[in-house]
């Protein structure tokens, strides 16, 4: 842990030509405007078109591509027709077309194929227009690892296998954190990444939303995985104060703080996330990237646990829960760490919940509160109000939590 990755990953450092892989999910967000939730499945797509829905992804992709024009010697590699060719041409580019599709009948399989093809060909950045579903499909191709036993030791190899990806938001409500804030800023960031001018690479959560449940008004989200996205810290501006540590340094600082506060008698239930992974790293313990692990006295007690395992462990023992906001919406419970169920939370007690987050992530909330959705209204209310968030070594924020 603590690898400061400056610039782009080694294999994709541009030599001469820059190659941008473009994937447009033509049906992303198609349901939204006409009041349908999600867009998985040809049935829903059909229904949406009947209601007069127009696919947004195309326009969003064009907006983003316009920002990328200044790149010298840029080759756009994409799939035919609505999966990227149309957007590229409308954006004034002459793309290289690969793969084949059945126009008007594209599916998640096509997205995965496109992602796989681009990986084989080797592009500097995969820019995709879509929503959580699209992100998940791409993650399927780009994230290959096993849940148990992965931890900071694998970080190096892990980073090497992951391609650089960035999403142009074109979905209903997006929970994954792999997207630019809007098409233009996604385009700006893609431009910087392609020119080798991005500040670095950051891991961002891919959330998998169960769309069937979503349509019935239930948000069931799980943490699906992580993708590497470029990020840009703002250029130096009339500074009167130091900026503080970069992301990995901030996470290290948080890890130090939490570890310093650990005592031998307490069980620590550590939720998924890159910040919580840093804590495991500091302890020298492997961390299930997407799951909940339990440690005590600096050693792993149980990995990738579910609710009943946690409850069993909690019998007769003092415990604390360590969580971090997952996904782009700021949920500290209920999106990706449901194993830490209402029963677990009740047993542990609000005062033993430790929330960790870099200050940058808190600020990215733009004043919106942290959110909880455990499934139990009472527990949600108990967690609401104000909570201390560990943002660094001996640094905390007091922030609002809402349900």
């Amino acid at each position: 842990m603590g690898d400061h990755v400056a610039g782009l990953p080694e294999e994709s450092t541009p030599v001469g030509q820059k190659r941008l892989g473009l994937i447009v999910n033509p049906v992303a967000g198609i349901g939204g405007r006409v009041g349908l939730k999600g867009s998985d499945g040809t049935e829903i797509q059909q229904k949406a078109r009947e209601l007069g829905a127009v696919p947004e992804a195309l326009n969003r992709a064009i907006q983003a591509l316009e920002r990328v024009r200044p790149v010298d010697d840029l080759q756009i590699i994409t799939y035919p027709g609505e999966m990227g060719e149309d957007a590229a041409r409308a954006g004034g580019f002459v793309p290289t077309i690969i793969g084949s599709i059945r126009r008007g009948e594209t599916t998640a399989e096509d997205t995965r194929n496109a992602a796989q093809d681009m990986q084989r060909l080797g592009v500097d950045l995969v820019l995709f227009a879509g929503g959580d579903g699209t992100a998940r499909d791409i993650a399927d191709e780009y994230v290959r690892y096993s849940a148990i036993g992965e931890g900071s030791d694998v970080a190096d190899g892990y980073i090497r296998r992951i391609r650089l990806v960035l999403g142009i938001p074109a979905g209903v409500k997006i929970h994954s954190a792999v997207f630019g804030t809007n098409p233009r800023s996604a385009g700006d960031l893609a431009l910087l990444a392609l020119q080798g001018r991005a500040s670095g690479v950051r891991e961002a959560e891919v959330m998998d939303i169960d769309e069937e449940a979503f349509r019935q008004g239930i948000v069931a989200a799980r943490l699906y995985g992580y993708l590497n996205i470029p990020f840009q810290r703002r250029l130096v501006q009339g500074l009167k104060a130091a900026s503080g540590p970069g992301d990995s340094a901030a996470m290290e600082a948080i890890a130090w703080d939490v570890v310093d506060g650990m005592d031998d008698e307490t069980l620590y239930i550590i939720g998924p996330g890159t910040t919580t992974r840093a804590i495991a790293s500091r302890l020298g313990v492997p961390k299930t990237l997407l799951g909940v692990d339990v440690v005590q006295q600096g050693r792993l007690v149980a990995a990738d646990t579910n609710e009943s395992q946690l409850l069993a462990l909690l019998e007769e023992r003092l415990a604390k829960v360590v969580v971090t906001p997952i996904g782009g919406q700021g949920y500290i419970f209920g999106r990706g760490n449901q194993q830490i169920s209402p029963r677990v939370i009740r047993k542990v007690g609000k005062e033993h919940v430790i929330v960790v987050s870099t200050a940058a992530k808190i600020q990215a909330l733009g004043g919106r509160p942290l959110l909880v959705d455990t499934g139990d209204r009472e527990v949600d209310r108990m967690l609401s109000g104000y909570i201390r968030v560990v943002t660094g070594h001996r640094e905390q924020a007091v922030y609002r939590v809402s349900c």
Binding site: G238, L239, K240, A242, G244, P245, G246, S248, A249, H393
Partner: protein, 477 residues
């Protein structure tokens, strides 16, 4: 009630009543009261502050302030041998010329584009200091030499992950006080004694202290071992530490850093500390073109090698050079702005704020003006003059000068035990003869008896020193 004509203030253009009215109208306010709606009535100050009546005309103001300042006596009017952290050196006219230009004087925090001159001037200052120190990284000026020393030892603590700092006893009590306060609660300071005859750091005492075992802390796995050994060269008491290389090796053998405080005006002739093993070098640049200003001309510097682990620990901004999109054009900006390392148990990398940039620019002008030859000549000249003063003063009955049998730079300790007079008495008598005697060390270094710290620089002529000796002769013999 008499209607006083409202005053139009020269520094407040919009205080012209008609303009004020018009602007109020434009923002749709009846009076400026409306702007303070968020200030609760309870907290509103009633009436006017009880301040002295204003001196509205520039002439009245000038006369008033000059009248007060007239009560001061200066080192131009009196013959001064004071030093101890603030020194009387000649300030080339060109230094004053540059630092009073409004463009430098009133600039602040603009971009490297619209304040390019400031960035280049500070880069050049750091570069010239780099040549003086023979090191590749020099910070933008911090408040003063005390801060530089305090920050240097904290940097050493961060880099080594250790807490203990060993400091030579021949240090200013004031500086030590600052280093102690600034080091709380992380840094533990221990003093290392000196050789009675020479003043030199006691190497045996250092060896004993640096390998002393200290119990480990309960939960963290970091011993309280030595992070750094700090000494000054020349010492606060004026002599040159001649065993810097041995001090540095002892430090390095134990994994500690060697931190040395220097007087930059001595570096034309004295070996830069990095060459005898220093890892961090610090000091005060006041001698390089700043008037004494009652202590207002101080500014600190910190220098290290160009290694990432050092660069990352500077709390101050570091300016680097870079190309622009126009070939051959220079640009400047912040190096390692985002300090990406979080070295062990660091307690924050201190802070960044306004400090003493204008003095840094001035020091750059000074060094560019002096050039290599100037720095050699001034150093050698100072040494010659102070040696002369020591020899002449040493001939006075009951006076020992210098106390320490070591080479000296510009300051030296003089002992008056043999005269039966206290330093205070001597200085009072000197004052009556138009002379400022050296700083009284009696309380600061009681083991030195009735001693004072005398300072001789290039501003002292032979006549000046002869006059001092004559005056002293009258006083003590």
């Amino acid at each position: 009630m008499s209607q006083k004509r409202p005053i139009v203030y020269p520094y407040i253009p919009n205080s012209v009543p008609a303009v004020k009215q018009q602007m109020l109208q434009e923002v749709g306010a009846e009076s400026t009261e409306e702007f303070y709606e968020d200030v609760p009535q309870k907290l509103r100050f009633k009436g006017h502050l009880n301040l002295p009546p204003p001196l509205l005309s520039e002439y009245a103001l000038k006369r008033h302030v000059e009248g007060i300042l007239a009560r001061n006596r200066t080192c131009g009017e009196y013959l001064s041998f004071l030093g101890a952290g603030c020194w009387h050196h000649h300030v080339p006219a060109i230094c004053d010329e540059v630092n009073q230009r409004g463009e430098f004087l009133t600039a602040y925090a603009g971009e490297p584009y619209d304040d390019h001159g400031r960035f280049q001037a500070l880069f050049e200052y750091a570069s010239m200091m780099g040549e003086l120190l023979n090191m590749d990284v020099v910070s933008v000026p911090t408040y003063d030499g005390f801060q530089a020393a305090a920050t240097s030892i904290r940097m050493a603590a961060r880099i080594t992950g250790r807490r203990q700092v060993l400091i030579s006893r021949t240090i200013s009590a004031d500086k030590l006080s600052k280093m102690q306060d600034y080091g709380k609660p992380e840094i533990e300071i221990r003093m290392i004694g000196y050789e009675h005859e020479t003043g030199q750091l006691d190497l045996e005492a250092l060896k004993a202290e640096i390998s002393a075992e200290i119990p480990r802390y309960a939960r963290n796995d970091r011993q309280s071992e030595t992070a750094a050994v700090y000494f000054e060269n020349p010492s606060y008491l004026g002599f040159v530490e001649t065993h810097g290389d041995e001090i540095a090796s002892i430090a390095h053998e134990h994994g500690a850093l060697c931190v040395v405080g220097v007087d930059p005006i001595s570096l034309g002739i004295l070996t830069p500390p990095v060459e005898y093993g220093a890892d961090i070098v610090c000091g005060d640049i006041q001698p390089l073109g700043m008037h004494m200003q009652f202590g207002g001309g101080q500014a600190g510097f910190i220098a290290t090698r160009d290694e990432e682990k050092y660069v990352m620990e500077y709390p101050s901004r570091l300016f680097g050079i870079a190309p622009t999109r126009v070939p051959g054009e220079y640009g400047f900006g912040d190096v390692a702005y985002e300090r990406t390392s979080f070295a062990l148990r660091e307690e924050g990398k201190e802070w960044v704020g306004t400090a003493a940039a204008l003095w840094g620019i001035t020091a750059g002008v000074y060094l560019a003006t002096m050039g290599p030859q100037g720095m050699v000549e001034i150093g050698e000249g100072i040494m010659a003059r102070s040696r002369y003063a020591m020899l002449e003063m040493g001939r006075l009955k009951g006076v020992q000068a210098p106390v320490f049998q070591s080479p000296h730079f510009k300051e030296f300790v003089v002992n008056f035990d043999g005269t039966g007079k206290t330093v205070a008495e001597v200085n009072r008598a000197l004052l009556a003869r138009g002379v400022f005697g050296g700083k009284d060390l009696t309380n600061e270094f009681p083991e030195l008896g009735h001693s004072a710290l005398y300072c001789v620089t290039e501003v002292h002529t032979q006549d000046d020193m002869d006059r001092l000796v004559r005056a002293l002769r009258e006083v003590v013999e």
